[in-house]
Symmetry: C2
Subunit: 400 residues, 2 copies
C-alpha cells in the first residue's frame, strides 16, 4: 500500500508550527508495514488543496489529510474533499450529540453554524470519533483510493489514530504489537552496526532504532492475531538482540513512556527509600529531573547545590554521606563535576564523580565526559548519575 | 514569487527525523516576503523525485531542494536535478579545494569518488559554499524557474541559507533587517487581539508572532538599503506596538537568542551581585536554568532544595534572607510553592511565593498558577521568579 500524508494549514507554510503530525504518522505507518512515499503541506486554500488531492489520487492508495477540521472560516478540508469527490457533507449523529453536550455544559459559549461543521463528514464516510476534541474524522474509499481525514492538533490526531484509524488499517483479525527497548551507554551508530544484519533482514517483527539525547531506543513491532503469538515473536527477536555484544548490559528498560529517572523513581518507591542529593555543575537539574518522576513526594528529603569548582573522589564521598545523614535519608547521592581547563563553548570537558550512599554503604563512580555544549553535558551527566543509581538500587534489592 | 520546499530523504518518510528545515526556511521566506505555497517530502528515489520536480516546476517560481547532497549512495538530489534539467554535473573548484584540505588534514580517512560528489553541482549553477560542511549547494535558473539545492543537516542548511542564499534573494542593493521583541506575562492570543489591526494591515515592516512556553515573541522585519533606514522603520513600528494596552510593561528583552534567564544573568554580572537560591516544588530547575546562562560562575554561591510542602509569605521571606546570609551572597531568592488539594495530573494548581532579598532588603510576590501539567507549571513558575528578579534588579540599578 502506497500512502501519502497531506497537512493542511497556512501556519505550517509560514513556519509558525512544525509539522510533527507527519513524523508521528510516518512512524506509525512504518510499524504497520505501510510505505509512506510523500509528505505534502498546503495552505488553507481550496484551489491549491484540490490540486494536491488530484496529484495524490493518481499516485497513492491511501491519502491522509491532517488539519483544517476546526470551526473557523479557513478550516476547509472536509468541504474541499467533498467537492473533489463530488459528494455532499452530512452530519454525524454521534459527533453532533457530543457537540450538543459540550455546549449544554458551557452556558456562556455561543454556538454558531461554524461550530456545527465540526460534526460533518463527507457522505458515505465511516466516522472516526475524536476522543480529545469536537471535530469528527472520517475514512472513505473512492475509486480504489482510501481518503482519511484527521484533526490537526497533535493530541487529537494521536488519539484518533490510535483508537479509531489504526484498527481499521490492520487485517480484520490482526492487531499491531510493539515493544520498545531502551538503551543507555551506547550510541545509535554503534547499536546499528552491531545489529546491521538483523536490521537489514527484518520483515516480521520490524525493527526501528531512534536516537534521543544520551540514549537509543529500538522499537520491535509485529502484526499478530493474539497477544501470545506476538509475545513469542517479540521475545525471540529481543533475545537475539540482547545476545549481541554488550547490549544486554546497556538495556535499562522498556516502553515509550519511560526514562532513567522514571525507573529510578519507581525503584526508590518500591523499596521505600528516602533520598537526598548534592550537585555542583548540574546545578539542580538532577533533583528537578528525578523529583518530576516521583509519585511519592515524601521520599525526597531535599538537596544542596554547591558552587565548589574543585572536586575529587573524597569530596564526593563526604558530601554523599553528609547529605544522607543531614537529611535523615536512606540514600544520598553526590554528582560532582570538575571542568577541564581545555574546555571550549561547544566542547566542554569534565570529570564527574558519582558517589552514592545507601544506608551508610558508599560507592563512587568516575566518568569522563567531553565534546558537548554545557547544556548537553549537564543532561548526559544526570543520565550517568541516574544509571549508576539504578544499578546500585537493583543490587540493593537483590541483597535484601 | 511562489516558492516550494522539497525535502529529500527516506528518513523523513519513515518518521526517524522531523522536517525542521521546512519550518526554518518558511519562517525566513515569510520575512523576505516570499510566499511558500507547498512543502513536499520525498524519499531517496530517482523516479519519485523526478515526478516531484515535474509537478513543482509547473506551479512554482522558486524550488528549494533540501538534503541528499552527502557522500553515500542514496544521496541523489544533484544527480536527479541534473537529469531533470538535461544537464551535466561539474566540479566546483572552491568546494573541491575544501575537500582536498579536509582529506589532507585527516590522514587516516579514505577519500572515495563518492566523497568527491559533494563538490559537484549542476552545470550552469551558481555555487553556494557550505560554511559548516563539505557538500556545496547551488542555485540555477531554467525556464523562469529558480532551483536551489541546500544540504540536509540543519546546521549546514542554516549557515548556507544565511550566508549565501539570503543575499541572492534580496534586491541587489537591499538587505533584510529584523528585530525580535520578547514578552512575558501575556498570551499569544491576547497579544494578537491587541495588535489585530497592525497584523492585518502589515506590509513593510512585516510582523509575525510566535508562542513559546510561557512567553511570546514578535518578529519585525523590513527590507532596506541601509541600517539607518531599517532602524527608523523598525523603531516606528515598535513604538506603535508598545503604545498599545500594557504591552510596554510585558516587554522584557530583544533578540532571537535571548531569554529571561539570560537577561537576569547579565544583570547580575553587570552589577557584580553574588546570589543564592532556595526552591521546593521546582526542585532545582530555577538554579539549573539561571546558572546555565551565567558567564561568571563565581557569582553563584549555591542553593538549597527543600522538601517543605506547606509554605507561606513568611517562610519565603525567612528562607530568602537565610540563604543570602548563609551563602554570603548579595541576592537571595526563595521560590516556594504550595500545591492546592484540588490539583489533578493535567491541571496542577499551586500558589507560589517569590521572595527576594537584595542586601538585606526583602520583597515578596505571590503568584497563583493553574491549568498545567507539573512539568509545565515548574517551567512557568521559574519564568515568574526570573521576571520578578529582573524587575528588582533593574530597580536596584536605578537606585544606585
Amino acid at each position: 500500500m502506497k500512502a501519502e500524508l497531506i497537512a493542511v494549514g497556512t501556519e505550517i507554510l509560514t513556519g509558525q508550527i512544525v509539522n510533527t503530525n507527519a513524523q508521528f504518522l510516518s512512524e506509525k505507518f512504518a510499524e504497520l508495514g505501510i510505505d509512506v512515499f510523500f509528505h505534502t503541506a498546503v495552505g488553507d486554500n481550496e484551489k491549491r488543496l484540490l490540486s494536491v488531492l488530484d496529484i495524490a489520487s493518481k499516485r497513492s492508495d491511501l491519502i491522509v489529510l491532517c488539519g483544517g477540521l476546526g470551526p473557523t472560516e479557513d478550516d476547509l478540508t472536509k468541504q474541499t474533499l467533498a467537492k473533489f469527490l463530488g459528494k455532499n457533507l452530512v452530519f454525524d449523529s454521534t459527533a453532533l450529540a457530543k457537540l450538543d453536550r459540550f455546549f449544554a455544559s458551557r452556558k456562556g459559549r455561543v454556538r454558531t453554524p461554524n461550530n456545527e461543521r465540526q460534526a460533518q463528514l463527507v457522505e458515505g464516510s465511516r466516522a472516526l470519533q475524536n476522543p480529545a476534541g469536537l471535530a469528527v474524522g472520517a475514512l472513505i474509499e473512492e475509486n480504489q483510493v482510501t481518503y482519511v481525514v484527521l484533526p490537526g492538533p497533535p493530541s487529537e490526531l494521536k488519539a484518533m489514530f490510535t483508537e479509531s484509524l489504526q484498527p481499521l488499517l490492520l487485517h480484520s483479525n490482526q492487531k499491531l504489537y510493539s515493544r520498545v527497548l531502551r538503551f543507555f551507554g551506547i550510541g545509535e551508530s554503534q547499536l546499528v552496526t552491531i545489529l546491521a544484519d538483523v536490521i537489514e533482514n527484518q520483515s516480521d517483527p520490524t525493527l526501528a532504532p531512534y536516537a534521543k539525547t544520551g540514549e537509543v531506543t529500538l522499537r520491535l513491532s509485529t502484526k499478530a492475531e493474539d497477544e501470545e503469538t506476538a509475545k513469542q515473536k517479540l521475545d525471540c527477536l529481543e533475545q537475539e538482540i540482547l545476545a549481541r555484544d554488550h547490549l544486554a548490559t546497556c538495556l535499562y528498560g522498556y516502553g515509550d513512556d519511560n526514562s532513567l529517572s522514571k525507573i529510578v523513581a519507581r525503584e526508590l518507591e518500591e523499596q521505600g527509600l528516602r533520598f537526598a542529593m548534592v550537585e555542583n555543575l548540574t546545578a539542580g537539574l538532577l533533583q528537578a529531573d528525578l523529583t518530576l518522576s516521583l509519585q511519592n513526594r515524601q521520599l525526597f528529603k531535599g538537596g544542596l547545590v554547591v558552587s565548589d569548582e574543585r572536586v575529587d573522589v573524597q569530596k564526593a564521598q563526604e558530601l554523599a554521606a553528609f547529605i544522607c545523614e543531614d537529611s535523615k535519608a536512606d540514600v544520598g547521592l553526590a554528582l560532582l563535576g570538575e571542568l577541564k581547563p581545555e574546555s571550549q563553548a561547544d566542547n566542554v570537558m569534565a570529570t564527574y564523580y558519582i558517589a552514592v550512599s545507601v544506608h551508610g554503604q558508599l560507592t563512587v563512580t568516575e566518568v569522563d565526559l567531553g565534546g558537548y555544549t554545557e547544556q548537553h553535558m549537564r543532561h548526559i551527566a544526570c543520565l550517568h548519575a541516574l544509571n549508576t543509581m539504578r544499578n546500585i538500587l537493583l543490587n540493593h534489592k537483590n541483597l535484601l
